[in-house]
């Protein structure tokens, strides 16, 4: 028996332990009970029980086995109660084997993969996928998921129930997709993790431009993915990408909590060990890439160019533009064209950048596009156009802090032309 440290340190350690075990125990319970909702309810109760018993009696030698058995018993109770309520024969539909062995490492891996692909099934909306991933795979409570995604708790509870009902009623299978479907399905899973990270890294709503909780959860999911699918290039690429971005976190906000742009960040604050880890992953991914590299690998390569540059001015823009050319070949989107235009502006000047922007295409009401155009107009000294573009940027939905920053910069740039 492991004794917990007293007081707050103890309950924090307990909370961490239980959160790490949550997805693993949940995944195997979903298999034994056949229901995500039932598994969640039963495990939720088992966790409450652990919080009562463990601080008093110590943590059991095998916490996972303890949680699994307590949750299975609880699932049987819940099923019996449900059967009584709907006046079904006692025992009908109850086939949870309480005494089945606790899954070994390879069974656990399969269970987690099944749960992962179910929660990120393309028949669910991306919002539902993100919420489910946070609830089931990151072990956040409904209230925590709601606050992480800035949605009222009641709305989030409804969203989660609806998603779980769709899984059951529509017959979304608990299954790892067959090999021929794996790349596409995996792409969907990675997109969910990527969007989660992005929402934390470049928050589009809320007052803070950085929501650390979301990036932390995205990193947790990305690490879990690599544990489960260590040989998939796209998985390695995504983790490289997230770490190469995350490394800059300590330099991204000023003392007042306002965002600092990449060009103005104090690069000595960047987390060197994260950068090294990201570069190593990128190296592995590039070595295993065939003709057309995975889009996440290419994006990681671009992030790496920034991470190894001593200053913004000394960045290898030539390399970045050519990586964007590769990216356009494998994943042509207006956002990629926008980012390429930014790099072109650095390499060949703001007039060249503005010309590229004209070819970006449909991105109505996309704040970063309006912001880049505004800034390039100001840099080119086209004051009137810059001012009207700034007014448009401020009316475009986006992060309040990023808007304040843009406005300040445009005024500074225009002052130099007065």
């Amino acid at each position: 028996m492991l004794r917990l440290p007293d007081q707050d340190g103890g309950s924090a350690a307990l909370a961490t332990l239980l959160r790490d075990e949550w997805p693993r125990v949940l995944a195997s319970l979903v298999r034994t009970t056949g229901s995500l909702q039932l598994a969640e309810d039963a495990l939720g109760d088992a966790v409450v029980r652990a919080f009562e018993v463990w601080p008093r009696d110590g943590v059991p030698d095998e916490p996972r086995a303890w949680l699994t058995v307590v949750a299975r018993r609880r699932a049987v109770d819940l099923l019996r109660r449900e059967a009584r309520r709907s006046e079904k024969e006692a025992g009908a539909g109850i086939f949870v084997n309480v005494d089945a062995p606790v899954p070994d490492a390879s069974e656990l891996r399969d269970d987690l993969l099944r749960l992962l692909f179910t929660c990120c099934h393309p028949a669910l909306t991306v919002e539902a996928q993100t919420a489910l991933a946070l609830r089931t795979l990151c072990g956040l409570s409904t209230a925590e998921v709601a606050s992480a995604l800035l949605v009222p708790e009641a709305t989030m509870a409804k969203r989660l129930v609806r998603a779980k009902r769709k899984i059951t009623d529509a017959g979304i299978p608990y299954r790892v997709p067959p090999v021929e479907e794996l790349p596409e399905r995996l792409h969907g899973v990675l997109t969910t993790v990527y969007l989660l990270f992005n929402e934390g890294y470049l928050a589009t709503s809320g007052d803070s431009p950085l929501r650390r909780q979301l990036t932390t959860e995205a990193n947790r999911l990305s690490a879990l993915l690599r544990e489960l699918l260590p040989d998939q290039v796209s998985v390695i690429g995504l983790e490289a990408l997230l770490r190469l971005h995350d490394a800059r976190t300590p330099a991204r906000l000023d003392a007042a909590g306002e965002p600092i742009r990449l060009s103005d960040q104090d690069r000595t604050l960047w987390n060197r060990s994260e950068i090294r880890a990201g570069l190593a992953l990128l190296g592995t991914a590039l070595r295993t890439s065939r003709d057309d590299p995975d889009p996440y690998v290419v994006q990681a390569a671009i992030a790496a160019c920034h991470d190894v540059a001593p200053t913004w001015a000394d960045t290898n823009w030539e390399a970045i533009v050519s990586w964007y050319d590769v990216l356009l070949r494998v994943a042509e989107t207006p956002v990629v064209r926008l980012n390429r235009a930014v790099a072109i502006a650095e390499l060949r000047g703001s007039a060249a950048g503005l010309r590229e922007l004209d070819g970006v295409g449909e991105l109505a009401d996309y704040f970063p596009l309006v912001a880049v155009r505004t800034e390039l107009l100001a840099r080119a000294g086209r004051a009137d156009e810059a001012r009207s573009s700034l007014a448009r940027a401020i009316d475009t939905p986006g992060n309040a802090a990023a808007k304040r920053d843009l406005s300040r910069r445009v005024h500074e740039l225009l002052r130099t032309y007065m």
Partner: protein, 123 residues
Amino acid sequence: MPQYAAIIYEQGDPDWSSLDTPEKQETMGEYGAFGATAAAILRGGAALYPTSTATTVQVEGGKGGRVVTTDGPFAESKEVLTGFYLLECADLDEAVRWAAQIPAAWKDKVEVRPVIDFGASPA
């Protein structure tokens, strides 16, 4: 085994009762091929006349009340329900794989919905 309705929505309210263009004949041929390929899992289905033939029925003031009929479909929209298949599949993934072979899936759209099995769930 669960059943799924694959509901076909098409633009332009086509009339499948007369195959008066080469395109329609070709498409009908593709439906025939789908029917043959999917025979093992097909449990039913129908093609419907255009919405101009639809009558919407509503009983006012509760059961037994005045029956009001309106000419036309329940909802006017660009995409109209033109037919459906009943598929018997193990799960949603399988139903989606079959639905993707219905010609409307690439010409227009197919909605897949699980069918309630009243026999299996407590009433």
